[in-house]
C-alpha cells in the first residue's frame, strides 16, 4: 500500500467517526472535553458555530453521530453525544461576548430568505456579520419553521426554541411574518441580490383508500395537526386515535394525542419494527408512555357508518427477502379491524413549492425537487439557492444547518462576483501535539469502561397531563461529566514519524486493541488479513508508514484505536505522538479573505 498522507484533511477527519458522520461536521470530542471541564459556554459556542442550534439539537437531533461512535465498535453503546450537547446548552453562561458582531455599515447587498426554519436562520446567521441586508418571509406568525410547528413542547420547550431563534432574528433580520408567498416571479421582481428557499417539506402525504372521502372530517394530516397544536388552535383530541406511520412525526402525533385527552392511542405501521424510520429513542419513549406500536399492518379500508368513522381494516403481512429485496407478503391470516374515532396520518412528507412558477428558469426534476448543484446548492436560476428539506426532500435539522453553511458561502461568492464553485474555500487540518511532559497529555487519555448513563425522565403521570412538561430532563453537571469521560477523544490522533522509530515493538506490545503491526508491505487486501488482529472493517482506513530501517512498514488499523495514548507513552523515541487534529470545515467567516 502507498504511504498514508495524513495531511489530507479527510484522513484524520474520518477517524473522528462522530464528526465525520455529522452533516455539519461538529467537532464532537472537542466540545465533550469542554463539557467535562465544566466550560459549558465554550462547549456551547463550539456547537453554535457548527450547527447553529445546540439547545434545540441537543433535544431533537436525529443523531447520525451516535451509531457512528467508535464506542459502539469497541464496547457496545455510543457516548450520549446529543445529551452532552444539551448539557452544554442547559448550563452555559453568558454567550454574548462570543457572538459575531454586525458591521456598522451594510455591504449594500440584499438577500431574501423564504421560510424561517433552521436552514433560513442559519444562512442569515452566516451572512449577517458580512453586512448583508436580510429579509425573511414566513407564513406562520413566528420564526422557527418546523422546529416550532412540528416538534411538540414536551420534546422541545418553547423557551429553548425561542432563545436560539430569537438570537439570530435579533442579529438584525427584517422579518415578514404571516407573509404567504404566492409567486416566485413576484419575489424575483423585487430585485434582491440573491434568494434562499428554505421552506422545508410542508406537505404531509395522504392515503387514498376506500372510505377516505367519506370520513375526511375525522382524518388529519400529522404535521398539520401538530402545527395547529403548536399554535394553540387545537387543544384536545377525543375518542380512540389511530396514528398511521412509523416515523418521528408518528411518534410525536401519538404522544401528543395521549396528552390531549385521547381515550386510546395506537400506532399502526405498514413495515416491521426494526425498519421504522423513527429514531430508536423516540420509539422507546412512546412505548414507555404505554402506546402500542403494531407492525406489518398496511391499511386497507376506512370503515364508516352514517358519515362517522368506525375504524380501519388492516392487512397482515410479513417481511420476506424476494430476489434480494425486502418485500411485505400477506400472511394469509384474516384482516384486522381496529376501532377508531380519529386518524392521524403521518406517512411521510414532501417538499412542495407550488408558488414557484415553472417557467422562470428554476428547473424541477421528475420528483418535483429543484435541480441543484449538490455542493453549491445553487438552482438553475443563478440568483436562487435552496437548503434544508426544500432542497433534496425531508431530512432533519442538522442537515439544514449543513446546507445553510454551504449556501451562505455560495451566496457570498455570488454576490461578490466570484465563482461559486471554483472560489470555494478549501478544507484544512491542523495537528497540534498534546504532549505536555514525559507522561502528561493535554487530554484525559485514560479509558473509562463505564456503561452509557441513563438520562432521567420527568414523572410519567405528570408529563402525560401537560403537553408543556418536558419528558427528558437531561443530564445534570455530574452525570454530564461522567458521560463525557466515556468519550474516546478520537480527534487526538496517533501520529507516527518513521525516521524516529527504532522498531522496538513497545507500541505493538502495549496496544490494548492490537491495532499496530510491523510487517512487510503488501496490497490492502493482504495487509488487512496479516495484521496482529484482522482489520475487517473496510470503512476504516489502514495507516501505513513509509519504509522503516528493516524494510518493513508500520500498519495501524484505525478501526478500534482507543486513542489511549499508550503507544506514545511506551515509545522511547517519540516516534508516536498524540496530536489533536483540528479539521477546518469551510464556513463563511472561518477564513479571512
Amino acid at each position: 500500500m502507498d504511504t498514508t498522507n495524513i495531511f489530507n484533511p479527510n484522513y484524520f477527519h474520518k477517524v473522528v467517526d462522530c464528526q465525520w458522520a455529522c452533516p455539519a461536521h461538529t467537532p464532537v470530542p472537542e466540545y465533550i472535553r469542554l463539557v467535562a471541564q465544566g466550560r459549558y459556554t465554550e462547549a456551547y459556542m463550539v456547537n453554535w458555530e457548527s450547527n447553529v442550534f445546540p439547545g434545540i439539537l441537543g433535544r431533537t437531533c436525529d443523531r447520525p453521530c451516535e451509531p457512528a461512535c467508535r464506542r459502539v465498535r469497541t464496547e457496545e453503546k455510543p457516548v450520549a453525544i446529543c445529551r452532552l450537547k444539551r448539557v452544554a446548552a442547559d448550563h452555559k453562561g453568558d454567550i454574548s461576548p462570543y457572538l459575531p458582531r454586525n458591521p456598522a455599515k451594510k455591504n449594500g447587498k440584499r438577500i431574501a430568505l423564504f421560510g424561517s426554519g433552521p436552514a433560513s436562520l442559519a444562512v442569515a446567521r452566516d451572512l449577517l456579520p458580512f453586512g448583508y441586508e436580510i429579509d425573511m418571509f414566513e407564513k406562520d406568525p413566528g420564526g422557527g419553521g418546523m422546529m416550532r410547528s412540528q416538534i411538540p413542547a414536551f420534546r422541545l420547550p418553547a423557551d429553548v426554541l425561542e432563545e436560539e431563534v430569537d438570537l439570530i432574528v435579533n442579529m438584525g433580520i427584517n422579518t415578514f411574518y404571516n407573509y404567504e408567498i404566492t409567486s416566485m416571479k413576484e419575489m424575483l421582481d423585487m430585485n434582491y441580490d440573491a434568494y434562499f428557499v428554505g421552506t422545508g417539506a410542508p406537505r404531509g402525504r395522504d392515503l387514498d383508500l376506500p372510505g377516505r372521502k367519506e370520513v375526511s372530517d375525522h382524518i388529519f394530516i400529522g404535521i398539520d395537526w401538530l402545527s395547529s397544536v403548536a399554535f394553540g388552535h387545537t387543544t384536545s383530541i377525543s375518542g380512540k386515535v389511530i396514528v398511521m406511520g412509523g416515523g418521528n412525526t408518528a411518534m410525536d402525533c401519538c404522544r401528543t394525542s395521549k396528552r390531549l385527552g385521547a381515550e386510546t392511542v395506537t400506532v399502526v405501521v405498514r413495515s416491521g419494527f426494526d425498519v421504522m424510520k423513527a429514531s430508536d429513542w423516540e420509539k422507546e419513549d412512546a412505548m414507555a408512555e404505554g402506546i402500542p406500536i403494531l407492525n406489518n399492518r398496511p391499511p386497507k379500508e376506512f370503515i364508516h357508518e352514517n358519515g362517522k368513522l368506525k375504524g380501519v381494516i388492516f392487512e397482515r403481512v410479513q417481511p420476506e427477502m424476494v430476489n434480494g429485496r425486502l418485500k411485505y407478503v400477506p400472511t394469509g391470516e384474516p384482516d384486522v379491524f381496529i376501532e377508531a374515532d380519529k386518524i392521524l396520518m403521518a406517512i411521510g412528507q414532501e417538499n412542495h413549492c407550488p408558488w414557484i412558477e415553472r417557467d422562470i428558469g428554476i428547473e424541477f426534476d421528475k420528483w418535483d425537487c429543484p435541480v441543484l448543484d449538490k455542493e453549491t446548492l445553487q438552482s438553475t436560476h443563478e440568483k436562487v439557492f435552496f437548503g434544508g428539506d426544500s432542497a433534496f426532500g425531508p431530512e432533519n435539522i442538522i442537515w439544514a444547518s449543513a446546507h445553510a453553511h454551504q449556501a451562505a458561502i455560495s451566496i457570498h461568492l455570488y454576490c461578490q462576483g466570484k465563482d461559486v464553485k471554483r472560489d470555494r474555500p478549501p478544507e484544512g487540518m491542523n495537528l497540534i501535539s498534546t504532549r505536555m511532559g514525559v507522561h502528561e497529555w493535554s487530554y484525559d487519555a485514560q479509558h473509562d469502561p463505564a456503561e452509557r448513563y441513563i438520562v432521567p425522565h420527568a414523572d410519567l403521570r405528570r408529563s402525560l397531563k401537560n403537553i408543556k412538561v418536558e419528558v427528558e430532563l437531561g443530564f445534570d453537571k455530574d452525570l454530564g461529566y461522567s458521560e463525557a469521560q466515556r468519550c474516546l477523544n478520537c480527534d487526538v490522533q496517533t501520529v507516527f514519524t518513521e525516521k524516529l522509530c527504532i522498531e522496538c515493538d513497545a507500541c505493538v506490545d502495549i496496544c490494548p486493541m492490537d491495532c499496530i503491526t510491523f510487517t512487510k508491505n503488501g496490497s490492502e487486501e493482504d495487509l488487512r488479513t496479516q495484521l496482529t488482529a484482522p482489520a475487517n472493517n473496510l470503512e476504516q482506513d489502514l495507516y501505513v508508514s513509509d519504509e522503516l530501517k528493516t524494510g518493513r512498514v508500520m500498519v495501524k488499523d484505525e478501526d478500534l484505536c482507543l486513542h489511549c495514548g499508550l503507544c506514545a507513552e511506551r515509545c522511547p523515541t517519540n516516534a508516536w505522538d498524540m496530536q489533536q487534529s483540528i479539521v477546518h470545515i469551510p464556513q463563511l467567516g472561518s477564513y479571512t479573505e
Binding site: R73, T74, E75, H439, A445, Q446, H447, P449, I502, E503, C504, D505, A506, V508, D509, I510, P512, M513, D514, A533, P534, N536, K549, T550, L560, L562, C564, G565, L566, E569, R570, C571, P572, T573
Partner: protein
C-alpha cells in the same frame, strides 16, 4: 514508567484458547521499565507463547533475582506463583521450589548481571543439575539499573554511552550452557518475535533445562552507535542458523521436509518441533559442533541465533535423584514420617 493503566477492553475478535482464556488474561501489571526496553518485548513474547499453548497461568512459578530483567515477572502472567529472590540466587530458589513441587512450570528470568556476574556459580550449577525449568537471560550487556556500567557479557571494544571502550572479553552464556550439558540452548533477539515466540513455546514444553539467551537492548544506556547490543547492531550482525517451528499435536498438517535441512523433534507432550537449518554447516543435535560454531561466530563478530542445541529424552534433576512421581509437597505425614520402626531399619542399613 507509564501512569495510564492499560485498558481492559480488547479487540472484539480476540480468541479464547483451549482453556477458555484470552491472550489478555496472561498479562499482568503495566511495566515500570523504561519505554522501549527490550525486556518488555520478551514479556510480551512469553504472554503470547503461553496463551497460544493454552498453558494454565496458575500452574506457573516465576522466579527472578535482581535487576531490570528480574522485575519483569511482575509484567506477565499476573495469576501465577512468583518469587523475586536475592541477587544471583534465583537458581537456588528455583531448585528448592522444583524439588518440592515438580508439577509446576518453572520460568526463571535473569539478566546478564544477575547470571554472568554475581550469580555465575549458581547459573553453572543449575545447568549441571539439569533442573527442569526455562531459564531466560535478558541480555543487554549493561547494568541498566545502576546507570549503564558494562556487564560481563559486553563485548570487548564495545563502547559506553560516553565513549569509553570495554576492556574485557565477554562471558558467552550460550557457550557455557552448551559446555555444561544443557539440553536446550537457544539465542534470540527481543526485536524478533517471529523467532522468539516459537522458541519460547518449545522451551516451555521441553523436559529438562531450557536456556534462552535473549539479546534485549537497553534503550537508555546501551542502544547507541558504539554498542554491540543495540537494535541496529544486532539486526545488522544477526545470523539465524536454525529456525524452529512449533507444531501442536492438533495441527496434523503434512509438511514437506527438505532432506538434510529439516529435522523433526518430538516433544514429551506429543507436539513437535520442526527445525530448519538455515546454515548448511550447522547441526542442532551436535553439541560439540554447535560449541565450535558459536565460538567461531563470536570471534567473527556474528550474533548466532535460533535453537542452537536440543536433546530430548534426557534425565532431568528428578530423574537423576530418583524422586517419586508425586510432588513432595503433596506427600502426607504418613509417607514423610513412616515411624520409629522404619527409621530403625534405615539406620541399621548404615551400621
Amino acid at each position: 514508567m507509564t501512569f495510564v493503566p492499560k485498558p481492559r477492553v480488547h479487540h472484539p475478535l480476540l480468541d479464547v484458547n483451549e482453556i477458555g482464556l484470552k491472550r489478555r488474561d496472561y498479562e499482568a501489571a503495566v511495566s515500570t521499565l523504561c519505554a522501549g526496553c527490550g525486556h518488555d518485548s520478551v514479556s510480551a513474547a512469553i504472554i503470547q507463547a503461553c496463551s497460544e499453548l493454552s498453558l494454565p497461568p496458575h500452574r506457573f512459578a516465576k522466579l527472578s533475582g535482581i535487576g531490570c530483567s528480574s522485575k519483569t515477572p511482575s509484567y506477565f502472567l499476573g495469576n501465577s506463583h512468583g518469587f523475586n529472590s536475592v541477587h544471583g540466587r534465583m537458581p537456588s530458589v528455583a531448585t528448592g521450589a522444583n524439588l518440592a513441587n515438580r508439577d509446576l512450570i518453572y520460568v526463571g528470568v535473569s539478566g546478564d548481571g544477575d547470571s554472568a556476574s554475581i550469580g555465575l556459580g549458581q547459573f553453572v550449577h543449575v545447568i549441571r543439575r539439569q533442573l527442569n525449568m526455562v531459564y531466560i537471560v535478558d541480555n543487554n550487556g549493561t547494568y541498566g539499573l545502576t546507570k549503564g556500567q558494562f556487564s560481563a557479557t559486553n563485548d570487548r571494544g564495545s563502547v559506553s554511552k560516553k565513549g569509553v571502550p570495554n576492556l574485557y572479553a565477554p562471558i558467552d552464556l550460550v557457550s557455557m550452557a552448551l559446555q555444561l550439558g544443557a539440553s536446550f540452548v537457544a539465542r534470540s533477539f527481543s526485536g524478533d518475535k517471529q523467532q522468539l515466540v516459537p522458541l519460547l513455546k518449545a522451551a516451555f514444553l521441553h523436559k529438562g533445562f531450557a536456556f534462552l539467551d535473549i539479546i534485549s537492548p537497553c534503550v537508555m544506556f546501551n542502544n547507541h552507535t558504539g554498542s554491540t547490543k543495540s537494535y541496529d547492531y544486532v539486526r545488522d550482525h544477526l545470523e539465524e542458523v536454525v529456525r524452529s517451528n512449533y507444531i501442536a499435536p492438533r495441527d496434523e498438517i503434512e509438511i514437506h521436509y527438505e532432506p538434510g535441512t529439516s529435522k523433526k523433534v518430538q516433544l514429551h507432550d506429543g507436539s513437535q518441533l520442526n527445525l530448519t537449518k538455515l546454515s548448511e554447516s550447522y547441526d542442532p543435535s551436535d553439541r560439540i559442533g554447535a560449541m565450535s560454531y558459536v565460538q567461531q561466530a563470536l570471534a567473527d563478530g556474528v550474533v548466532v541465533t535460533g535453537l542452537l542445541y536440543v536433546e530430548e529424552d534426557i534425565n532431568e534433576c528428578h530423574d537423576i535423584l530418583q524422586t517419586i512421581r508425586q510432588p513432595l509437597n503433596q506427600l502426607t505425614e504418613d509417607a514423610l514420617c513412616p515411624g520409629a520402626d522404619k527409621l530403625k531399619k534405615i539406620n541399621n542399613m548404615f551400621r
